[in-house]
Amino acid sequence: MSFLERLRAGLRRTTDQLVGRFDRLDAGGATRVTVGQATATVSIDTLDSLEEILIEADIGVSAAMRLIEAVRDQTDDADLRSVVKRELRRLLEAATPAPVRGGRPRVVLVVGVNGTGKTTTVGRLARLLTLSGERPVICAADTFRAAAVEQLEVWATRVGADFVRARPGTDPAAVVFDAISAGKARGRDVVLVDTAGRLHTRTNLMSELDKIRRVAARAVDGAPHETLLVLDATVGQNGLAQARAFLESVGVTGIVLTKLDGTAKGGIAVAITAELGVPIRYVGVGEQLDDLVPFSAAEYVEALFEPAW
C-alpha cells in the first residue's frame, strides 16, 4: 500500500466515523480500511484560500508567502491547484539525501525533542532494514527517560534485531561505542542509535549529542553516516527552530515525520526542506510496526490538499 493510500485510510477512518460505518479488512497483519468514497477537493481558487490552506497545514507564514509569490504570475491559466502542487513538488524534490559513504557498520543517529516518537521510529526503521535484507543493531542511548530502554527492548524483540542497552544514568556516548563494537564483531550492517529526547534550547544536552557524534566518528570511518531528526507532524513553527539547532550541533541529514495519521499535516517539514535543504526521508502513518514508509514528494503534495485531513 502506498503512503498516500495509507494516509487516505487514516482519513477515511474519520469520514467513516461520521457516517457511522466502520468496515475493516484485515489483510497481511496490517489494519486496512475499505476504500469507497470520492474525495471532494478543497476550493483553492483564490490566493487567499491558498494562504489559509498552507498556513493551516503548518507550512508557516513566510514559506506560504514565498509559495504564493512563486505561483502568483502563473495563475492566469486558472488552474491554481496544479501550479501550487507542481511548485511544492519541485521544492521537495530539490532536496535529495546525500549518498552514504564510509566504513561499516553504517551508523544512524535518531535525534529529536521529547515525545516525537524517536524510540518507535528506531524500532520501525530496524523493521524496514530487516525487510530489505540488512541486519541492524539497535542501540539504546536514551539513558535519561525512565523505562526508555525497556520500551526499545520490546521493539528489538519484535523485530528480532540485536540490542545493546545502557545502564540508566551512564554516558550515552559509551553505549554508542559499545554498540558499534558489537556491530563490528558480529558483522552487522547498520547500528541504529536511539538518543534521549532533548529540547533544542538545552545547550548542555545538545553538546552531549555532539559527543556521541565524535565518539561514533572515531569508531567507524564516516560515522554517523546518517542523522535523522524525528519531527511530530503536529508541531508548529517551532519545528524550524528545532531543525536549525539539531542541524547546527549534529548535522541532520534527513527528517522523519511521525504521526501523520492524525489530522496534522506536518507542513513545517516543507518549510525546513525549503529553508535548510534537509530532505524528508520517512513518514509514520499509523500505529503498526510496518507503518513507517519512505517519503514520496508526489504523494505528500497530493495529501496536503486532501479535505478534512
Binding site: 525533542v113 516525537t116 523505562a147 526508555a148 508548529g236 517551532n238 492524525g262 496534522a264
Partner: protein, 454 residues
C-alpha cells in the same frame, strides 16, 4: 517563554504609538503586525482571524481614535481580548468534594502525560494532598514501567496490580485502593491516542463512565501547531475537558497553542510544565501571561518564586543583618544560592516589568557559570575571612584564587563588589531604621504579609 511573541506584539504597538493622531490606516498596519505575530506563534488561523476582527471592531471607532491616548487604548483592547481568549479560572487544580478526587489525564501521543501525572502528584503533595497514581497505558511498551520509575523517584505511591490488564479494571482498582487506604486524589494516566481513533476514544468514554472523574485534564505540547484546535476540540467534544496542561514550555515555543486550545475548548489552562525536573510544573495564571506577552512583566510570579525558596525566618534574619549593617560575605553567598534556586536568570528577568525584551537578549550573554564561580570564591575563604572581609590581604587573595580555580583579579572584583553592596545596604538599612522610628510604612511598594525581602 513567550518572549518572542511579546517582542513581536510590541513592534506592532510601536506602530500605533508613533502616531499622535490615530487613523484607521495606522490601526490596520498594527493589526497586520499582530496577525503575523500570532500566526508565527502558531495560534490557529481561524482563531487569529476572529481575534483580529474583534480588535478591529473595537479599535476603529471614534471614541478610541479621538481619545487623548489612542495608542494605550489599542493596547488595552488587545490585552482585553487576549484575556478573553485565554479564559479565566482558578490556576492549578482545585479540590473537589469527591473522595477520592479522580483526575484523568488525556492527550495525543508524546504530549507528556506520564511525566505530567507524576509532576502533578508531586505538586499535590506540596498542597498537603495524598495522591495515588495509576497507569492505564497498556499499549506503549514500557509505559507502565516509566510511570512506576518516575513515581518511585518522586516518592509517590503507584497502584500497579500485575493481574489487571484491562484499562477500566486498573483505574477502578486504584480508586478502591485509595478509598480504603485514605489517599484523597487518584491520578489516572492514559495511553496517548489520536483524536480520530474511534476505538480508543470509546475506551476513554468507558473509563470516564466507570470512574466518574471530577477533572479531565488535557495534556498538550506547547510546540503544537495549527492542529491543536482539532485534537483538543475533539477530545473536548467526546469527553468534556475541564482543564489543560501545557507541556515543554521550557523550549523556545511561542506557545500559540495555549491561545488556540483555550479558545476552542473554552476552559482555562491549569498548569504549565517548564522543565525536566519533577518539580517543574507551575499553576497557570492567564492574567500574568497576558502582561508578560505585552511586555508588562509579572511581578506576582517573581514574588511567588522568591517565596518558594526563601523561608520567612531567613528573610527576617537577613533584614536584621541589613539594618544592623553586618552583612557579610557569607550572607552574600547565601543570597546567591537563593537566586540560583529560583531558576535561570534570563527567565527571572522576563518577569520584571520592562525587562522582557532584555531577557531574550540576555539568554545568550549571561554567563550561567558566573554565579557558580562567585560562590566558589567565597567557598575558598576561611570563616574569618567571610565574616571580616578587611583581613583579606594580597597573600590571602592569591590563596583564595588558587583554591577556587579563579584569578586574583576575579577575587579582587568580588571583594570590590561586596564592599559596594555593603555601602548600598548601609543606606537602605539606615533608611529603614529611621522609618521604623517614625512608625510609618513606605507607600507604593506592594508588600504582602510574610513577603520576604529577598
Amino acid at each position: 517563554m513567550f518572549a518572542s511573541l511579546s517582542e513581536r506584539l510590541q513592534t506592532a504597538f510601536a506602530v500605533v504609538r508613533r502616531e499622535t493622531r490615530l487613523t484607521p490606516e495606522a490601526v490596520e498596519t498594527a493589526l497586520r503586525e499582530i496577525r503575523l505575530a500570532l500566526l508565527e506563534a502558531d495560534v490557529n488561523f481561524k482563531v487569529v482571524k476572529a481575534f483580529i476582527d474583534r480588535v478591529r471592531d473595537r479599535a476603529v471607532n471614534r471614541a478610541v481614535l479621538e481619545s487623548l491616548t489612542p495608542a494605550q487604548q489599542v493596547v488595552a483592547i488587545v490585552r482585553d481580548e487576549l484575556r478573553t481568549l485565554l479564559g479565566d479560572g482558578p490556576a492549578g487544580l482545585t479540590a473537589s468534594r469527591q473522595r477520592p478526587q479522580v483526575v484523568l489525564l488525556l492527550g495525543l501521543q508524546g504530549a507528556g502525560k506520564t511525566t505530567t501525572t507524576v509532576k502533578l502528584a508531586r505538586w499535590l503533595t506540596g498542597q498537603g494532598r495524598h495522591p495515588l497514581v495509576v497507569s492505564t497505558d497498556m499499549r506503549r511498551p514500557a509505559a507502565i514501567e516509566q510511570l512506576n520509575a518516575l513515581a518511585h523517584e518522586a516518592g509517590i505511591r503507584v497502584h500497579d496490580p500485575a493481574r489487571d490488564t484491562a484499562v477500566v479494571a486498573r483505574a477502578e482498582g486504584a480508586v478502591e485502593l485509595a478509598r480504603s487506604m485514605g489517599f484523597d486524589v487518584v491520578l489516572i494516566d492514559t495511553a496517548g491516542r489520536l483524536h480520530i481513533d474511534d476505538d480508543l476514544m470509546g475506551e476513554l468514554e468507558a473509563l470516564k463512565t466507570a470512574v466518574q472523574p471530577s477533572d479531565l485534564l488535557y495534556v498538550a505540547d506547547a510546540m503544537t501547531g495549527q492542529d491543536a484546535i482539532k485534537s483538543a476540540g475533539e477530545f473536548n467534544r467526546r469527553l468534556g475537558i475541564s482543564g489543560v496542561v501545557l507541556t515543554k514550555m521550557d523550549g523556545d515555543a511561542r506557545g500559540g497553542a495555549a491561545l488556540s486550545v483555550a479558545s476552542v475548548v473554552g476552559v482555562p489552562i491549569s498548569f504549565v510544565g517548564d522543565g525536566e525536573r519533577l518539580d517543574d510544573l507551575q499553576p497557570f495564571h492567564p492574567d500574568r501571561l497576558v502582561s508578560r506577552m505585552l511586555g508588562m512583566g509579572d511581578v506576582l510570579s517573581l514574588v511567588e518564586k522568591a517565596e518558594q525558596v526563601v523561608s520567612r525566618e531567613d528573610a527576617t534574619r537577613l533584614e536584621r543583618k541589613i539594618r544592623g549593617n553586618d552583612f557579610t560575605l557569607q550572607d552574600m553567598r547565601d543570597q546567591l544560592e537563593t537566586v540560583k534556586r529560583m531558576g535561570p536568570l534570563d527567565r527571572l528577568a522576563e518577569l520584571i516589568p520592562g525587562m522582557g525584551q532584555m531577557a531574550s537578549r540576555m539568554s545568550g550573554e549571561v554567563d550561567p557559570h558566573a554565579l557558580v564561580r562567585t560562590m566558589a570564591i567565597i567557598d575558598s575563604m576561611t570563616r574569618r575571612e567571610r565574616v571580616r572581609y578587611q583581613v583579606i590581604d594580597g597573600s590571602r587573595r592569591r590563596r583564595i584564587a588558587r583554591g577556587s580555580g579563579t584569578t586574583v583579579q576575579d577575587v579582587n572584583r568580588l571583594v570590590k563588589q561586596f564592599v559596594e553592596m555593603r555601602r548600598m545596604l548601609k543606606t537602605v538599612g539606615a533608611a529603614s531604621r529611621s522609618r521604623k522610628k517614625k512608625g510609618r510604612r513606605r507607600r507604593g511598594i506592594p508588600t504582602r504579609p510574610g513577603m520576604p525581602v529577598a
